[in-house]
Symmetry: C2
Subunit: 225 residues, 2 copies
Amino acid sequence: MMRPDLLAPRPIDRKPLRESLADALRQMIVEGALGPGEKINERALCLQFGVSRTPFREAINLLATEGLVAVTPHRGAAVTPITLDELEEVFPVMGVLEALTGELAATRATDAEIAEIRVLHEEMMRCYRARDRAAYFQLNEEIHDALHRAARNETLARTALSLGLRLRRARYQANLTEARWAAAVAEHEAFTEALEARDAPLLARLLREHLEHKLAAVRAAMALS
Amino acid sequence: MMRPDLLAPRPIDRKPLRESLADALRQMIVEGALGPGEKINERALCLQFGVSRTPFREAINLLATEGLVAVTPHRGAAVTPITLDELEEVFPVMGVLEALTGELAATRATDAEIAEIRVLHEEMMRCYRARDRAAYFQLNEEIHDALHRAARNETLARTALSLGLRLRRARYQANLTEARWAAAVAEHEAFTEALEARDAPLLARLLREHLEHKLAAVRAAMALS
DNA sequence: GCGACGCGATTTGCATACAAAATACACCTG
DNA sequence: CAGGTGTATTTTGTATGCAAATCGCGTCGC
């Protein structure tokens, strides 16, 4: 007997090498394994990954469009440094995208989706109380993904995801103070409630403000470094 | 004597081939030389451009991140079709970005920049009265560029530019009715004035509404096709 | 001793070559 | 004759090779 649940004949993942490489490099950059400003040595990394230069270069170009690396003609690629100026640029853009996400999500989310976000939120709260930073961030991202799914706008999701990478990178550097963390949690609770109430303008405003506060925190953290 | 105006020792253009190719392909796609849905034949186009496949593929990947082409593993690239669904996705995102652009521009533009935009606007009006569509569109784009420069946010400009390509492509298809054109011109006049008054919220609202009207027009045009 | 120049080593950009996958089509089987 | 299967051809993905540009460093001139 067929068991449709298990072993569903879903097309198996045959990701091109360039994408796997891009994923690996992205992670290295976001998590700081490749520090800001660091030059990217094609040959060395190709050897390390055991691939040839062609797909590697394709991956680098991908990251360049995401703004994670800067390529200079005939001078190679380097991880873009995280500057306050850059963050001041990215945050407002991200802010309006998040606001739109909230607006759309509040309008379009199914009840099931809202419930799922509430569950994720509660779990994140648990992680906060346990002071489990890694799990907290993980759930934070899952909630944002869930919001984007609920907003039903692929373009919006992809654009926001790309910009989000540049912010996440900063977060790995400037780490959360206890006070900021508490505030962030409160803000999350507030917009989860706004979503449940399907209050689109409120959710939009809260998300935008949430991001503004994040920027303020990062700004403070960078100022004293 | 030096003449700093002429022959300024600006670093001469050494654009990588991949970028020139991307530009060429972009134009072909936006202007419809490569129709929506059309499959992209690597070999044929490489021969036509007289380049090898490596830089060509890099260009294709670039366009893929811009959403102009879709690449399927082992099955090549194809120009993304323009669907109403896609436009309904892109427009709201573009809308909030334009609104933000307006907000920032109203706050940050120098008087000279505002004056420049006024000049461009007047010229565009002239083109409208002369019913010179091509020049009108050209100036329209220049005004948007000027706004982005005035907003002083490179990230915002680049994001908006990339999304804008997908909309411009639609414009080449669904062409402007006389009524819509008149309305668009009126809207342009309104937000030029808002900029001159440095009324940020108003400018933001006008730009967003302008885009909404554009979408409505495109929607109507596509519905009857 | 300090700076400019030049040459070699390295690195990047593009082209080509090879391997793997997909498509097209003829052939075989029922 | 219809359907499926196997093979040839085309197309894509990856690797390698070659030319041009850049960088590092030693040497020469002042």
